[in-house]
Symmetry: C2
């Protein structure tokens, strides 16, 4: 029998724990705060930012939000980031992607101080992850690790196939898994025999952005399958995995929606709390 992993429940538990710690921090006099920066009028981005702001308020944290027009210049966005970087009430800064075409996203992301980089996407955070040093890790890959931990799935010595080598999920996830002692294989669009790679794995994580890429031919009996994909279809949301095919083959599988998705926002809350603590330490050091 294949079990469905309830990401929503695990995410709720993490968010409740964050709310408790925020309440304790508030009693001690410091309330963590997240600043979301939204440029332009992309409807999907507006939905995502609204969900993040709601989670911030539910966790008892301060919600700072900046909305810039779609024709904002590089200098406009840079000035907002610099202002938020200098504001001690702002623990974390989230620049919602994608940005309008006239903006250079990489340069703007790298303006976020490493201690406020709650998305973990700056070059500096990538370097700290690569070096195994303290830093904020990208939310979705951290969420995948938390999900596996919550399910009691051992990572040390496990063979894990990461399908997709994107900057947001696959690359940082491979490193997080390796730090935990997993033997990791990374497959992508140039991989010639994907089933050979994924069938050798105890855990298969799919983050390709290709709807229904992975099916029964890719998964060994008893494997755990984590589906990071999310696609809007006429019949509702769907993932990168043809999950119906895996019933009776996989041991456990994450659904879409309700699997990895809720974990991303939960880990954003965790990162904001961590950023607040890190920032407070640095103030003490500087003082």
């Amino acid at each position: 029998m294949t079990t469905t992993i309830d990401g929503s429940r695990i995410a709720r538990r993490i968010r409740a724990r964050v709310a408790e710690e925020v309440a304790a921090a508030a009693e001690a006099g410091t309330v963590p705060g997240l600043a979301t920066v939204l440029v332009g009028d992309d409807p999907a981005s507006a939905v995502y930012v609204a969900a993040k702001r709601r989670a911030v308020r539910e966790a008892g944290m301060r919600d700072f939000h900046r909305k810039l027009p779609g024709q904002a210049t590089q200098e406009d966005v840079a000035a907002v980031i610099d202002e938020l970087a200098a504001d001690p009430r702002v623990s974390g800064i989230l620049l919602q992607l994608p940005l309008p075409r006239q903006l250079d996203a990489a340069t703007l992301i790298d303006r976020i101080p490493v201690t406020k980089d709650v998305d973990g996407l700056t070059t500096a955070s990538a370097g700290l992850l690569a070096r195994g040093e303290r830093g904020l890790r990208p939310c979705t890959p951290s969420g995948v690790i938390e999900l596996l931990d919550a399910e009691g799935i051992a990572l040390k010595g496990a063979r894990v196939a990461v399908v997709g080598w994107g900057a947001l999920v696959g690359r940082p996830l491979a490193q997080l898994l390796l730090r935990r002692g997993a033997t990791v294989s990374i497959a992508h669009e140039h991989t010639t025999d994907l089933p050979a790679v994924t069938r050798a794995a105890d855990i298969v994580v799919v983050a390709t952005g290709v709807r229904g890429l992975v099916g029964s031919e890719h998964v060994a009996p008893g494997a755990v399958v984590i589906d990071v994909g999310i696609h809007r279809t006429p019949h509702g949301l769907a993932g990168d995995v043809r999950s119906a095919e895996l019933d009776g083959i996989a041991d456990r599988i994450t659904p879409v929606p309700g699997g990895v998705g809720p974990m991303t926002i939960a880990m954003l809350m965790v990162n904001t709390l961590r950023a607040a603590r890190w920032g407070a330490e640095r103030e003490i050091v500087a003082a």
Copy 2:
């Protein structure tokens, strides 16, 4: 029949090409320079630094060298790095490792400006590699890629097993291979069934520091085997691979010595040249 890959010949060719480009740069008025910093009296380190300085002079580059006593403090070494960082004649700075125990190596490495980081070991360089941005890559993994290229071995779509996940070789090498379109599996001390991982690979790179770890049971017929290990034995130098066992199994294999070793110094020369060009660009931008 198993062919031995002649790393010394490939390295010589690269160094000759660097020397030509250095001569052209000198005619145009700029001579690249490498500063080697050696702390203490470790005999192996002294031998390595001497070999690097010899290669620098043979390439027609400026050889800057600083020797500090074994009891040098963190501040002593930091001051030397800062001085070299500020010197426009110094294109690259190499801090020879390991450092004496009283020194914090990571902090000292991170003092090297990213444009002079010819060893590619700073957190900033690791971030640039992880993000796929312009930067200097560590010499040994770059040397492995150059070796495979020189042998005409296709990387796109190839299955590569990287055995060893160290900061100097395995980690950066996995990323360089993925950038080239290889499907990469990374194994290490927690891997439970190493032969299963390596036998699935077209190319096996071994960088574990464990003498003779890999033998005939690990290698599929026709595979290419790259041995990064180097160990002093009573019978001369040896690698991480029991190469005699692979005769007739592997298609090609690197010897120890004369395989990857000479490539490391050759890539240090390439990196110094690249650093000189990068530094010159930044001066133009700053002027």
